[in-house]
């Protein structure tokens, strides 16, 4: 009775917080939608917006009224449908993949520094790519074989780490250290391989920097199906991750099979990341930052953080693509460079703002 009255009083404050959170969520969603709408207009080859729109809406004569020597009208159609749209889709899928696996791993490790590449997944992918380039494995079909090997290297590394995680009473720290050790081992193996063929290391480096250049409808179909299938399962692990934030022992006492959840989440995050990385190379920072953006704005409930990080990651990568093209129209900048350049200042801003709020909170 008294509780009802009091809860009505207590409700006003979080309601305001919730309102702020929703405004932010809506802002991100609008930004994402806007990016999706604007992105097809942006590309290294200048095509008038009206032409792009006509192509998109299936006009029979998209170039009517425009005279251009830079490209033929059929080229415009190809550029929009076979380059720009697949690239946009790949940016969205890869961003979502990195965002959700970053959130999953940060949750499992209760560590805000965890990211999709924490456990050596990037080293595994790099090794896979190097094997293809050095040994010329199926090099004729490099567009498919290289991603395949990168995928196997990345998800295989995740699998090895998961084997470490299966020790029932093993700690998260053991797992982290094991992952770091495996990453070092794979990097060493990679370096050894490239030693015999130094000319290729530039190629590997370029692949490492990450880009959306390999996007095509078939690539997108593969990446999308993998990321959507495994990412959806991963997104359902919110309640377990919420309890794990209170400590693995507490989670277990509340009914979470922490060991199994750990294995599943790491495996799913590895596969999802591998599916993206195989086609884009290593794109840093998206997986680290996206969960933080959600936690610091919408809240720490992992039922929301997982999906929210996917949306944030997708938006982030797409916007990064657009800005990098607008800023350097003549050269195709590897997008991994750009995500770091754009992401780090924003991330530092968030950190500083947060610590000021915390300091103020502690003083009261």
């Amino acid at each position: 009775m008294g509780g009802d009255v009091a809860s009505a009083r207590g409700a006003s404050e979080p309601k305001r917080r919730l309102g702020r959170a929703w405004r932010l969520a809506i802002a991100v969603a609008i930004l994402g939608l806007l990016a999706v709408l604007v992105s097809p207009l942006i590309g290294p080859v200048p095509i008038p917006a009206e032409v792009v729109l006509r192509v998109l809406f299936g006009s029979a004569h998209p170039c009517a009224g425009y005279v251009s020597s830079a490209y033929s009208c059929s080229a415009a159609r190809v550029i929009v449908w076979e380059v720009r749209v697949p690239e946009i889709l790949l940016a969205l899928i890869a961003g979502a993949a990195l965002g959700i696996s970053g959130a999953g791993l940060q949750g499992i490790f209760r560590n805000p520094l965890a990211d999709p590449f924490l456990l050596g997944i990037s080293s595994g992918a790099t090794l896979g790519a190097s094997v293809v380039l050095v040994f010329q494995v199926g090099i004729r079909e490099a567009n498919l074989v290289l991603p395949l090997f990168a995928f196997l290297g990345a998800s295989g590394t995740g699998g090895v780490v998961v084997l470490l995680a299966r020790n029932r009473y093993g700690s998260v720290e053991t797992l982290l250290l094991g992952g770091v050790a495996i990453a070092s081992f794979l990097s060493a193996a990679d370096a050894l391989m490239l030693l015999y063929n130094p000319a290729l290391s530039l190629q590997v480096d370029y692949w490492l920097l990450g880009g959306l250049g390999s996007a095509s409808w078939s690539v997108d179909a593969i990446a999308t199906s993998l990321v959507v299938a495994f990412g959806t399962v991963l997104s359902l692990y919110g309640p377990e991750l919420n309890l794990i934030q209170l400590g693995n022992d507490v989670a277990q006492s509340a009914g979470v099979s922490t060991n199994r959840v750990r294995v599943i989440v790491i495996l799913l995050a590895s596969v999802v990341t591998a599916a993206a990385v195989a086609f884009t190379g290593i794109i840093g920072f998206v997986g680290l930052v996206s969960p933080h953006v959600i936690r610091r704005t919408v809240g720490t409930d992992y039922r929301i953080v997982l999906g929210g990080s996917a949306i944030t990651g997708a938006t982030f990568l797409l916007v990064a693509r657009d800005i990098s093209i607008l800023a350097f129209p003549s050269s195709v900048l590897p997008i991994g460079i750009f995500t770091a350049f754009a992401g780090v200042p924003f991330f530092l801003y968030l950190l500083l703002r947060q610590s000021r709020v915390t300091a103020m909170g502690a003083g009261s």
Partner: protein, 440 residues
């Protein structure tokens, strides 16, 4: 759920590597009982709780919860039977309290299903049992320490498990919140027939709020029963190494313990720690500050001859010091003087307190004389002997003889401490092997 006690441990042994943390433990706890687990740090209380939660592998033995072997239950099934309030659960994120407590419903929900009305009702009950019904919408980090501990309790209660394990639930709380928290737990046990097992350091809280106290020491169970039977001065001396005084609260019959000192004083760099025995000749309340100083320094101390009604005698008893005591107003008997002389003979230093000397206790002073020059003797000179001589000058005469023979005068207990330290750390103090016979 099947029959059987709420919790039964049979021959349970748990090891951490070579170290045995729990040894051959047999324990049965009936439904609705409120049981305190007591014992010094490292005695196995937390290990026992973690073993019952299934967080530790058993080296040997078995654990049954409500008649079902723990090993045969899945993690989810365990969570529906046993809930846990750990030591200082750290919610680091500012989760809404209602959501935080909702986490406790995990074991009752189908995988990947949303919350049902039964979940919401359980959360509401847990909130009101913890006295947090009006805070449900607030962020958990905005709660005070006491409220946060109750929030952890509510999270555990939302599990609706018949067995509730508490690990040092009150160690971070002020006394008001301690009483509030344990009072709520007690009420829960009574109203909802929840069985409670709580590791508690505070024996007085254990005596007050539990039906039964199980005492562990070095992984073994050393006592089990209602607090008035279990919590004895002897147990504290044996298990905690503490000399304590036990009193009974007359209104309730609940025992309470006042710790006085360690049986084995800490041996630090202080040369006085563990050194002795120092025999203090006192009486009439004059030796109190000296006895306290020696107890604080950790010196082994004996006292004599004291008067039965004397406050020095009371203090000596509280501190557990071997002492020689005579009936009031009687002259010192031969037997008592002999006893005192034995302690004097065993001492490595003698301290003569500033006691008033009358005809009946002049012997107290005189008996010190044979030891002057053989071992260090210290004489209190504040107040001066002339001011407390009720023997017409004979006491002053003896006192001056002691001084002339080589006894050292001192003004304050602190000064005495310094002088004793230099004796204990010096060439006289060191070579003699420690004599511990007076303790036994």
């Amino acid at each position: 759920m099947t029959a059987g006690p709420a919790l039964r441990l049979t021959d349970v042994t748990v090891r951490y590597g070579e170290r045995i943390a729990l040894r051959d433990l047999d324990l049965s706890i009936a439904r609705g009982e409120v049981v305190a687990l007591a014992g010094p740090n490292g005695s196995g209380k937390t290990t026992l709780i973690r073993a019952v939660l299934g967080l530790l592998p058993l080296d040997r033995g078995s654990i049954e919860i409500l008649g079902e072997p723990l090993a045969s239950l899945s993690i989810r099934e365990r969570a529906r039977r046993v809930a846990w309030v750990p030591q200082g659960e750290g919610a680091r994120d500012d989760v809404r309290l209602a959501d935080y407590i909702q986490y406790g419903r995990y074991a009752h929900r189908e995988p990947w299903s949303g919350e049902l009305s039964t979940d919401r009702a359980a959360v509401a009950r847990a909130l009101s049992a913890a006295g947090l019904a009006d805070r449900a919408q607030e962020g958990i980090l905005s709660l005070s320490g006491g409220e946060r501990q109750r929030a952890t309790l509510a999270r555990a209660l939302a599990q609706e498990a018949p067995l509730l394990l508490l690990d040092e639930p009150t160690s971070h709380l002020d006394i008001g919140h301690q009483l509030d928290f344990l009072g709520r737990v007690r009420q829960l046990a009574r109203e909802s027939q929840v069985t409670v097992v709580a590791a508690l350091h505070d024996l007085n809280l254990a005596a007050r709020f539990t039906d039964r106290v199980v005492v562990l020491s070095r992984g073994r169970q050393v006592a089990d029963g209602p607090a008035p039977e279990v919590l004895s001065e002897d147990l504290l001396r044996r298990v905690w190494g503490v000399v304590a005084e036990r009193r009974i609260e007359p209104q309730t019959g609940v025992p309470y313990l006042i710790p006085r000192r360690l049986v084995e004083p800490p041996r630090g760099d202080d040369p006085l720690a563990g050194w002795g025995p120092v025999h203090v000749v006192g009486g009439g309340g004059s030796a109190g500050p000296i006895l306290r100083m020696l107890a604080d320094e950790g010196a082994r101390t004996t006292v004599g001859v004291l008067n039965l009604l004397d406050s020095d005698a009371e203090l000596a008893e509280d501190l557990g010091l071997p002492s020689v005591i005579e009936a009031p107003f009687a002259p010192l008997s031969e037997a008592v003087r002999r006893e005192n002389s034995e302690l004097l003979a065993r001492a490595r230093a003698i301290v003569v307190g500033p006691f008033p000397v009358g005809p009946s206790n002049l012997a107290n002073l005189a008996d010190v004389a044979p030891f002057v020059g053989r071992i260090p003797v210290f004489l209190a000179q504040e107040p001066p002997i002339s001011a407390r001589d009720w023997t017409g000058g004979r006491a002053t005469e003896v006192w001056n003889r002691l001084l002339a023979g080589g006894a050292t005068p001192f003004a304050t207990p602190a000064e005495l401490g310094d002088r004793l330290r230099s004796v204990a750390g010096g060439p006289i103090g060191r070579p003699v092997p420690a004599d511990r016979s007076h303790v036994e």
